[in-house]
Amino acid sequence: MGDEVTKKNKYSIIVPTYNERLNIALIVYLIFKHLKDVEFEVIIVDDGSPDGTQEIVKQLQQVYGEDRILLRARPKKLGLGTAYAHGLKHASGNFVVIMDADLSHHPKYLPAFIKKQIETGASIVTGTRYVKVGGVHGWTLMRKLTSRGANVLAQTLLWPGVSDLTGSFRLYRKSVLEDLINSCVSKGYVFQMEMIVRASRKGHHIEEVPITFVDRVYGSSKLGGSEIVEYLKGLLYLLFTT
């Protein structure tokens, strides 16, 4: 923990976007509003969104500075997992935060993540929706049911030691994320689960903070159909490989 006290921490916030023109502006505003006395940069990995997300990012750079908002675009939609890896390559902080652009992850929780990390010296702080002060909004009963079922199944089979496996609002020590991202191969939700399960198996110190999750207001979720099958396959995969 010594280095955390003596050296000033820098946080690189990686936000992958695909057609988040409005949301990215809102989230950048909220990040700057809530992170006052912290050194940080926002790295936006946009996958060639046709809605002009990148134009907005350039305008935001004019407002907040090109050194605070980094646009690291890719030519086409290449998926979330590789988007994190891409952003990570450009991160200059010693800590990395990963969050969605769709406002379901509210930047007001960032100080809690940072505080928790400093207090505990953890390598990973992960947001959990499944505790009393946390929670979700805008989920149908069906979505809650699948979420609960998936969670109980994973808890029973994998004993991961974390309550929210599929959430993706997390703070990582940069070296730990670099190591993890190279050993994870899954896609989508399973990717988030694989990251945290592998981290737990490797013995990294993981802490949780409660977060609330308000389903996206603008734009549409890009996750479709056969999610459950993918999830079950992912669970089996993790059973045999971790």
Binding site: R21, L26, I56, V63, L103, V131, H137, R148, L157, T212
Partner: protein, 89 residues
């Protein structure tokens, strides 16, 4: 050790215990014979119960959505002042 190995070891240990019980059984062997069935059934019940309880106590945050709406309005006002093209309304 892969996690599946842990689970299999656990199952093996339980089976060994069960076979031991079957062989040393002082009472009639019918009772221990049924134990695995009970085990599976109770595991299933536990799962269903956990899902049910979880569902009933699912933490929700309706107030958060209102707070978010306020944040959005605030952000839009600021961004518009700064000349960021976030569209009308």
């Amino acid at each position: 050790m892969k996690h599946i190995v842990k689970i299999i070891s656990l199952l093996v240990a339980i089976s060994a215990l069960w076979i031991g019980l079957l062989q040393t059984s002082l009472i009639s062997p019918d009772y221990p014979l049924m134990l695995p069935v009970y085990l599976v059934v109770s595991l299933g019940c536990y799962g269903l119960l956990m899902v049910g309880v979880g569902l009933m106590q699912f933490p929700t945050c309706p107030q958060e959505s209102m707070l978010l709406q306020q944040d959005i309005i605030e952000a839009k006002t600021f961004l518009r002042q700064k000349g960021v093209d976030i569209g009308s309304n």
